[in-house]
Symmetry: C2
Subunit: 358 residues, 2 copies
Amino acid sequence: MTRFSLDTLRAFSEAVFRHYGVPKADAAQAADVLAAADRRGIDSHGVARLITYADMLDAGRINPKPDIQVVRETQSTATVDGDNGLGLVVGPAANRIALDKAEAVGTGAVSVRNTNHFGIAGYYVLEALERDCIGMAMTNSTKLVAPLWGAERMLGTNPIAMAFPGQDEPPVVIDMATSTVAYGKVEIAKREGTPMPHGWAIDAEGQPTTDPDAMMDGGAQLPLGSTYEQGGHKGYCLATMVDVLTSVMSGANWGPFAPPFALQQAQPERQVGTGIGHFFNAWRIDGFMDPDRFKARIDDWVHTFRATEPAPGTDGPLIPGDPEREAARIRAEQGAPLLAPVVADLRTISERTGVSLT
Amino acid sequence: MTRFSLDTLRAFSEAVFRHYGVPKADAAQAADVLAAADRRGIDSHGVARLITYADMLDAGRINPKPDIQVVRETQSTATVDGDNGLGLVVGPAANRIALDKAEAVGTGAVSVRNTNHFGIAGYYVLEALERDCIGMAMTNSTKLVAPLWGAERMLGTNPIAMAFPGQDEPPVVIDMATSTVAYGKVEIAKREGTPMPHGWAIDAEGQPTTDPDAMMDGGAQLPLGSTYEQGGHKGYCLATMVDVLTSVMSGANWGPFAPPFALQQAQPERQVGTGIGHFFNAWRIDGFMDPDRFKARIDDWVHTFRATEPAPGTDGPLIPGDPEREAARIRAEQGAPLLAPVVADLRTISERTGVSLT
């Protein structure tokens, strides 16, 4: 592990995006989204992904200067075409449209097509808090997850995020894949050579497996709930909600046809739209309740849930967002710890682009 | 099991509501929501609950003639006070406000306080389809579910529903509790004297249990995902989303303070608002895409997912809503099968009210 300051990583990402022709403001925006992941401890979505963004920009697979367009709208809705730009740029732009509409009429909902990987979903709902809105953010992604009773990958890990502001308490921040676990946890099991818990994955024949290689080699992850008895159909339903709102509704590629976020992976056999899809919804808090009263009620909620009787052998329930806040507290002082392969990737990018990593 | 025609059950419910002073149109509305559950095979939420509604009306715990008021609004949002009416009446009224706002400006979002049990969440999203909207419906409910790492009941089974219309295919209909299973499944295990699967519940000490009595006797259900390894924090996050949107935001009783839907159960020790809460959101499809194109894309999605390679020993994935549609097909011909205790309850209501059950 090597520690890098968050500012160093952010500046490096920004310069790399600039190198590949991304305009200055967009490069800063994209670097800000990656830095949020590194700050909040979601290492799979931060600078560790920079090499993939760089590869795809380098290969012309992502448009560095997209002309992001609203292609259809009402007072509170819009469909946005991201012109195959970085999701790290298209996502924030579309989210701002949702927030602008919420400011104007109470709510805003934006479905986005022709876009790419947008970083952590949590970024967008934290942006909404800055404007006294409750945000909801979703994205589809390349297929990894089997529907319950399926033997093949049909859906992405399709995350959902939502955040609620407190008054004196920090916000309640929810950001969750709709699969049992994020793909990064399968990668960790592989790296560490340990079996996965039951319920995470099936192999290429559709049989349950605890072997990360068996999942990776033509197998699939399972939806939240895993089995019928444990509610695996519900995880499948949640992934379906995300797939439809982000991609069926925007004109993006849905389900198994979402393009991969990687140069090496094969493109899907069919195109049913353009790029992947996102969905942003913003609800203005004062459209429902005085925001100060709402925030005081959230504080009360947080205090009440912190006082829950702990289960044996635990310290009791966390408040959604606690782990990421704790990571952010530590990393603000100590920087982000990067694994050796991630540092090696950054060195590779540095050599390719001439951007120094200091 | 005794079979009753759906029309008989609906007429009986309506007459019983009328007996307790519910105005004619409201009684018909309430009976329609219950009948939808009986038609769709969600037996725990249909006429089986009529005795509880009747008990609560009889005891003056539910207001038969509520003055349902919009207490705050913008063009696309509203907070509704249900005046302690039947949720089966307040819910449909609030959902219509959300749909009216969506028709006017593209989306509508309504948070509801001072209301009661609203039947199946799926009812509301099916109503949205009638107006070419995608609906989302949620409600909180009396505490039954422990947050991950908690040893006590803090949240309801807090369902989420959403539906998407097809063109030639029937709609995709999602209606799911955010607990591992609905409470009705614990009741079934108790009735049949069989252990529950692992992951459904904890006992009064917070230890995992498969004994339905141990859950019922001071234990708790677990959120979708059950354990940390399987994503139980995600089910807790989903229940939190529902709790906040329905109840923190409307001014209802949230979390452990939601009043029970039963005369016998003790009232919570604290009131943090009025009644329970619902949340309805409607997105007009043509705010994003031509509805015919959207529906054709849903048909394509359905065909694609039906063609998923089946997992060994299964017939392959279902489309969300399949089981309820199959129940509705059978029950339209054969009526709804009611268990002996439910029939006994209906006879009791009939004797009390003088409404004949024929």
